[in-house]
Symmetry: C2
Subunit: 217 residues, 2 copies
């Protein structure tokens, strides 16, 4: 019963939409619902996946990944919001990306190449994660081969996202980038310190402040 509380996301429609009991009380959370949208799962597979992913709660400001270590886990964000960032030599932070509920997060390059990460991941608000280690993910993928397809689709979508970002950083002005983000990702800009968004867009907080003023007209 305690767990139900963890999954309790008021923004989801009906309560039974969130935690469903399929057949013989198979527990299907947002995690397997998400996977099931790409590759359809049997009740046994749902159980295996739900059991393989652990739970992790982070308080606002709490760190999940710290630079210098190998990030050997990947997580699904049940609720909350996180930021992936690194420190430049000069000491200033660079925000790589933000991750909101219903998406996967990791220090991907470290996870995929087994090398120490230079990134940090911290919670921008209270956050609930479903976490799995690389080892366990590989085991699970042997047990459920169709997970390879799911993992491929996730990687492909990450690529598409990054390709779009490259195009924007390459050919749009700071003003256009801010405008676009405000329109397409207001949920990220709002409620996140301006300096984080600024570095995500590749500009200084001062300049972004200037752009905001300009936009008021």
């Amino acid at each position: 019963m305690e767990r139900k509380k963890i999954f309790g996301e008021p923004r989801c429609s009906a309560p039974n939409e969130n935690v469903s009991f399929v057949q013989k009380s198979i527990r299907m959370t947002v995690l397997t619902k998400n996977i099931n949208q790409i590759v359809s799962l049997t009740p046994e597979e749902i159980n295996a996946i739900e059991n393989a992913f652990g739970y992790l709660e982070l308080s606002k400001g709490g760190f999940w990944v710290k630079q210098g270590k190998i990030c050997d886990q990947v997580a699904f964000v049940v609720s909350g919001k996180l930021r992936n960032f690194y420190m430049e030599d000069a000491g200033n932070e660079v925000t790589c990306f933000f991750v909101t509920a219903n998406h996967f997060i990791s220090s991907f390059t470290s996870f995929l190449t087994n090398t120490p990460t230079h990134e940090n991941i911290s919670a921008l608000e209270d956050t609930v994660l479903r976490v799995i280690s690389k080892n366990d993910l590989e085991k699970l993928s042997v047990l459920i081969p169709k997970l390879q397809i799911f993992r491929r689709v996730i990687a492909e979508n990450l690529f598409i996202t990054m390709e779009k970002r490259v195009a924007i950083l390459q050919s749009k002005t700071a003003y256009e980038r801010y405008e676009k983000m405000l329109k397409e990702n207001p949920e990220i800009i709002l409620g996140v310190p301006l300096q984080y968004t600024a570095s995500f867009l590749g500009i200084t907080p001062q300049h972004m402040s200037r752009l905001r003023k300009e936009m008021m007209k």
Copy 2:
């Protein structure tokens, strides 16, 4: 016998390194050699893959993909070099990326989402491709499930590449970007019109000319 000529890449070490006859004359080209480095293939699988990929030769300047159509193919570059670019509203070209031998190329977002592409792909020099349609790739992946793993790894590597590019565009000056590319990808910069490299780096040709002059000191 004519085909052997196509594969004849003088830059590869011994001739039998390039076209190998394993067991009962299994033909293994750079294509399956590349795949085999990620997921090991049986002779039957090698044959199936080699037969599923067609051949395509492009002369310098020739187009493989044109904007407006759905790109439903992916290709492996046997030899040569290509450029992926799109036209901005203003009419100027933006170079998305360059692809050299031994890598896969496509208008990936179009290929993955079945939507018309706004990109073009043309050959920077005479080029030989091994081409497969999305449909055939899916069939082949059913026949050889481990190809899902290979496709996942390809997508992951594409993501890693794009993530690095985002970080550079986000936080490095034009001078630093050019310097870095000159050091890490000289094979692309040399022998490619400067304007293409400039747009790849997100700067104007004039500014890049300025940077080169500055670098002479």
